[in-house]
Symmetry: C2
Subunit: 402 residues, 2 copies
C-alpha cells in the first residue's frame, strides 16, 4: 500500500520510542508473528453454516474481511453474524441458518457480554450445548472459558493484553476466517509487512504514520472529525471497523489533564456518498480531515458500452470507459476539488482487493490509533466510559425481577 499525505506533520522520535516500548505490554503489536498451528483444531468441523455470536470487536473485524472478499469466495460455507438483541433481526437471521448444519462460535472477551450471552442462551433453547456444534473464544479464566472447560467445548483464548477492537488478527478473527476458507496466513503477512515497515525501516509508511498522527493530534480542536472516504462498496464493513477502533480508542479523558478529548470518525463510501455527505465537506465548516482509500486495480474489465442515447449525448464521454477507471477518476476528481479547498487530506492506495492488503490496512490503522492516542495523552486501550451504562442496565434488570 501507498500512503500519500497532502498536509504537513511533525516527526516525533520520542513518540516512536514510546510505541516501541508498548510492545512489551500491549498484545496486538506481535499478533502477526503468533504461531497459528492451533487453527488445525478446527479441521474436524464440517458444518456448512458458520455462525459468529459476538458484538463490537468480536465481530467487526471478521465482517470487514468477509465483506471485502465475498466477491471472490471459494468456500461453500456461509458466514452469519448474530450481534444484536433486536428481536426482529435475531429472528430473521436465524431463519437463514440451517440449525442442524451450523457451527456456533461464541465470542466474548470478558466472557460475560450481555448481548452475546443472551443470544447464546436463546440458541441453547433450540440446540443443546455440545462439543460438536460450539466453539468458545474468550479470555483465559473468564466465566465462558470455565464453562467451556467444564462442558469440554473447543475453547480458544484471547491474550489478556489484546483489546477487543485490536483483536482481528488474534483467534477472534482468524478462527471464523479460517473456517470460511480465507487465507489467514496472507492476512498476517500483510500485517507483518506494515509492522516491519514501521518498526524496522525508516520508510514511507513510518513517516506517513508519524506525520499523520501528529497532525491529527495537534489540530484536534480544529479538525475534530476524520472521514474515511473508501472508494468501493467492498470497504463498507471495514469502515465500520475503523469507526469502532477510532472512536473507542481516542474518545477519552487525557491521562494528565483529565480533559475530555477525542476525534470523531466518519465512514463514507464513494461514489455513493458524493451524493450525500460530500456537500458538507466542501461547503461546511472546515472541521474535517479526509482519507481517501482506493483500489488501484479492480481486475475487472467491465466497460460502459459504446451507446449513444438521444438527448444524452453530453454523457457520451463516458462510453468505452471501464467502470474500474471511472470510479477511480471520480475519486481523483473529488481529491482535486478538496485540495483546492484546502481540506487536509491523504490517499491510501492498495494494489488490489485481496486479503494481504486487508492485513496491511488493519495494522496500519491500529498503529495510527496507537500513535494518535499517545499524542493525545489518552489510554487508547481501555473503554471506561461504557461501564456506567452496563451498570445501569444491570440495575434495571435486577429491579425488574424484584
Amino acid at each position: 500500500m501507498k500512503n500519500t499525505l497532502f498536509f504537513d506533520g511533525h516527526i516525533n522520535p520520542e513518540i516512536f520510542n514510546e510505541i516501541k516500548k508498548e510492545r512489551d505490554f500491549i498484545g496486538y503489536y506481535d499478533l502477526p508473528l503468533t504461531d497459528i498451528t492451533y487453527l488445525s483444531r478446527l479441521d474436524k468441523f464440517t458444518q456448512k453454516h458458520i455462525v459468529v455470536v459476538g458484538i463490537g470487536g468480536s465481530s467487526l473485524g471478521t465482517k470487514a474481511v468477509n465483506t471485502f472478499l465475498s466477491y471472490k469466495k471459494k468456500s461453500d460455507r456461509v458466514l452469519h453474524f448474530l450481534e444484536t438483541t433486536d428481536p426482529i433481526t435475531l429472528k430473521s437471521s436465524l431463519e437463514k441458518i440451517d440449525l442442524n448444519d451450523s457451527l456456533f462460535i461464541i465470542i466474548s472477551k470478558s466472557g460475560g457480554t450481555i448481548e452475546t450471552i443472551s443470544v447464546f442462551k436463546y440458541i441453547l433453547s433450540i440446540k443443546p450445548l455440545n462439543k460438536e456444534d460450539f466453539i468458545f473464544i474468550t479470555d483465559m479464566d473468564s466465566p465462558l472459558f470455565k464453562l467451556g472447560m467444564k462442558e469440554e467445548i473447543e475453547t480458544f483464548y484471547i491474550a489478556k493484553n489484546v483489546g477487543g477492537r485490536f483483536s482481528v488478527l488474534s483467534s477472534v478473527g482468524l478462527i471464523p476466517l479460517y473456517l470460511m476458507g480465507y487465507n489467514v496466513k496472507k492476512l498476517l503477512k500483510g500485517a507483518k509487512k506494515i509492522r516491519s515497515d514501521f518498526f524496522d525501516d525508516d520508510g514511507e509508511i513510518k513517516t506517513a504514520l508519524l506525520k499523520k498522527a501528529s497532525f491529527y493530534a495537534e489540530y484536534m480542536l480544529h479538525y475534530n472529525i476524520n472521514a474515511l472516504f473508501s472508494y468501493s462498496e467492498l470497504f463498507r464493513d471495514f469502515n465500520a471497523w475503523y469507526v469502532q477502533l477510532w472512536a473507542e480508542s481516542l474518545g477519552k479523558k487525557q491521562l494528565h489533564s483529565k480533559l475530555n478529548v477525542g476525534l470523531t470518525p466518519v465512514g463514507l463510501i464513494g461514489p455513493t456518498d458524493q451524493h450525500s455527505f460530500l456537500q458538507l465537506i466542501v461547503e461546511g465548516p472546515k472541521d474535517k480531515t479526509v482519507t481517501f482509500l482506493k483500489i488501484k486495480n479492480f481486475n475487472d474489465t467491465t466497460k460502459v458500452p459504446n451507446k449513444n442515447l438521444k438527448y444524452l449525448e453530453g454523457l457520451d464521454i463516458v462510453n468505452e470507459v471501464k467502470f474500474s477507471e471511472l470510479i477511480n477518476m471520480q475519486a481523483d476528481s473529488i481529491i482535486e476539488n478538496l485540495k483546492e479547498r484546502n481540506v487536509p487530506l491523504d490517499i491510501i492506495e492498495i494494489d488490489e482487493a485481496n486479503i494481504y492488503y486487508m492485513g496491511q490496512l488493519f495494522y496500519y490503522y491500529e498503529l495510527l490509533t496507537s500513535l494518535t492516542g499517545k499524542m493525545l495523552d489518552v489510554d487508547a486501550y481501555n473503554q471506561p466510559g461504557v461501564e456506567e451504562g452496563k451498570r445501569i442496565l444491570k440495575e434495571k434488570l435486577q429491579n425488574k425481577n424484584l
Copy 2:
C-alpha cells in the same frame, strides 16, 4: 410518535412563519396531499425483480422503507438497487437479478446523473430499451424525460421544486414502493399527520421541532455533530437517509455572511454501537447532541430462555426477559447515563415498526432540516458544493478521449 427533549430551545414564531411561506415554492411540504392515482399505471407490470437504478436521493428513501419493513414483507417481488460505478458490486448485484423477469426503474432528477446513466447504458448492452421493461422517473423536460417520450417509455416526472433528498414521498419513492406492495397511502398518511401537527396545531411536535432546530442552530459551534442513535437494525438505511438529508442540506455558505456552516450527522445503531461509538460520546469532547430513536412495541415475544449457565450466574437476571424489552432497557440505560453527563439529547419513540410511522419520521426530519437550515441562514435545498467535482470529472473524461 412522541418526541421528548431534554434540553431547552427557543420558540421563534418568525421562523415558523417563514417556513409557512416556503410552502408556496418548496415542493416537498405538500407531497402528502398529492393525488397518487398515477400509480395505477404500474399495475400492468408483472415482473418479479424490481431494479432501482439511481443514487443518493433517488434510492436512499426507498431503501430506508424497504429495510424497515422487509421483515413483514408480503410481496413475492424482490427489490434491487444499482447505485454505484463500483464494478465488483455492479456485477455481483446483477448476478442476483433474473434479467428476463426484471423491471428497471431509471431514476435521475437531472436526467443526466453520470453514475445512473453509465449503469443504464450497461444494462442496455444486455437488454434492449423497450416499454415493457423500463420506467423513467426524472424532471420534466430533462434529457432522460425526452428520451422516454421518444421511446414511449412509461415516464414519470418529479416536480421541479422537490429536491432529490426531499423526494421520498414523490414518485421517486412511491413508484418502487408501490410495486413492492407496500401501502404507500399509509406512508403518506403518516407524513400528513406530522404536517398538520406542525402547520395547523400548536401541539407537542411543533414545539419540539421549533425548540430542537433553534438549539441546534444556536449551539452549532459548540455541538457540531448530531448523532441519531436508532435502536433497531431496521433503521440502518433510515440512518443513511438522515445522513444525506442533514449533511447535504445544512453544509453550506450562509446566505448573508458567506461563512461556511453546517452540522455533521452520524448514524448509529443500538445496541451494536454501544460497543463502538458510545465511548466517544461519553468521554470524548462535548461536541455532540444525540437523538434516540426507539420502537415502543416490537410485537415480538421472543424471550431469553430461563437457562442457568454455570459460572455465568451473574447474567441470570436477563432470563425470561423479552428481547424487545431488553433492547429498550439498553437504550434507556444509555439515555440515563448520557443525561447524567449533560449530553443534550432527545427521544423519538414510535409505537411500532410500520409504514405509517416511517411516513411520520420522514416528514418530521424534513421539517427539522428546513427549520434548522432557516435558522442557520443557509439555502437547505441546493447543493452547489458538489458541482465542482462533477466538472473536474467531465474534464478528466474529455481529456482521456483526446
